[in-house]
């Protein structure tokens, strides 16, 4: 459950601990940036093989955003949802190459949930205006105010905990299997890796981006 500190950064006489999950995220960010630079080097109008893969990914994200949120959100949300999808995929699947997934640290998933929280409420304020947003708290009638506030708070809370718990359980089971098998870990961890890292990781990424889109759409509508 604990993450080890790699080094300390001293800013303004406070020591900020840079943990191993931050270093893992830096490595994955560098990997994604290098992949992007390689794949978008020569863009032709008639795509060759590697460009077709990238175009397929972009078309999928476009389709997801436009079918779940409508066309007016495409300009802002396709980059955000696409980046979140690619980053979360690499973070969750990094257990396959031996790096423990960073999302088993609650600080990482809490950051993602907070970004979505600010996005949902900021979009609601932009679409309805500040008065309309505050009036939405007392709809349909005034005693619903505490329930509406609780609902606004449990959305990022549940997003954070869903991703964190699923990844933590997978990391714990794999740690137990590897420490139990010792030197004889040959074929038995493979289906466990497949279920917890590939299947669970991809589904949790998909659910995170779908819920981001659905909550943003709901938050700006009523």
């Amino acid at each position: 459950m604990e993450v080890g500190t790699v080094f300390d950064v001293n800013i303004f006489n406070h020591a900020f601990a840079v943990t191993s999950s931050i270093v893992t995220q830096w490595i994955i960010m560098a990997f994604i940036i290098i992949l992007t630079l390689i794949f978008t080097r020569n863009l032709n109008k008639i795509p060759d093989k590697s460009q077709s893969v990238i175009e397929m990914i972009v078309t999928t994200v476009n389709g997801l955003v436009s079918s779940n949120m409508g066309n007016e959100y495409k300009r802002f949300f396709v980059p955000y949802v696409g980046t979140l999808a690619v980053f979360l995929t690499f973070l969750n699947l990094s257990g396959l190459v031996g790096i423990e997934p960073s999302t088993k640290d609650i600080n990482v998933t809490l950051t993602f949930a907070l970004m979505t929280f600010f996005l949902i409420n900021g979009n609601a304020i932009k679409k309805k205006g500040l008065g309309g947003y505050l009036k939405g708290y007392v709809e349909p009638y005034a005693p619903m105010l505490p329930l509406n506030m609780i609902e606004k708070l449990t959305i990022p809370f549940s997003l954070c905990l869903r991703l964190f718990c699923n990844m933590l359980v997978g990391a714990m089971v794999l740690g137990l299997v590897y420490s139990g098998l010792g030197h004889f870990a040959f074929i038995i961890p493979i289906p466990i890796h497949f279920f917890f890292d590939v299947f669970d990781g991809l589904i949790q990424m998909f659910v995170f981006i779908m819920l981001t889109m659905v909550y943003t759409k709901i938050g700006a509508s009523h």
Binding site: L161, R162, F164, N166, V169, I203, Q204, V207, M210, L211
Partner: protein, 83 residues
């Protein structure tokens, strides 16, 4: 008789963690219900398979979160508070 306070705390933590993990029960019931209804809907109309599968995955994620809340309480009790 003297009860060692550390042992008493450990014993209460173990009982509490065991009771908290009973909440994981509801997740299995919820997921089974959602999946059963999804299979019936696909059998009624096989053309809508993609939409139904998307909705089913979303429903499963919602139903699983409540049992994960119970699990995280149990994990925190055992791994953080145990001395």
């Amino acid at each position: 008789m003297n009860i060692d306070p550390k042992m008493f705390l450990d014993a209460m933590l173990a009982i509490g963690a065991g009771l908290a993990a009973i909440g994981c029960f509801g997740g299995g019931i919820g997921i089974g219900t959602v999946s059963g209804k999804a299979v019936e809907a696909i059998a009624r109309q096989p053309e809508a398979k993609g939409d139904i599968m998307s909705t089913m995955i979303l429903g499963i994620a919602f139903a699983e979160v409540t049992s994960l809340y119970a699990l995280i309480i149990s994990i925190i009790l055992i791994f953080v508070k145990w001395q």
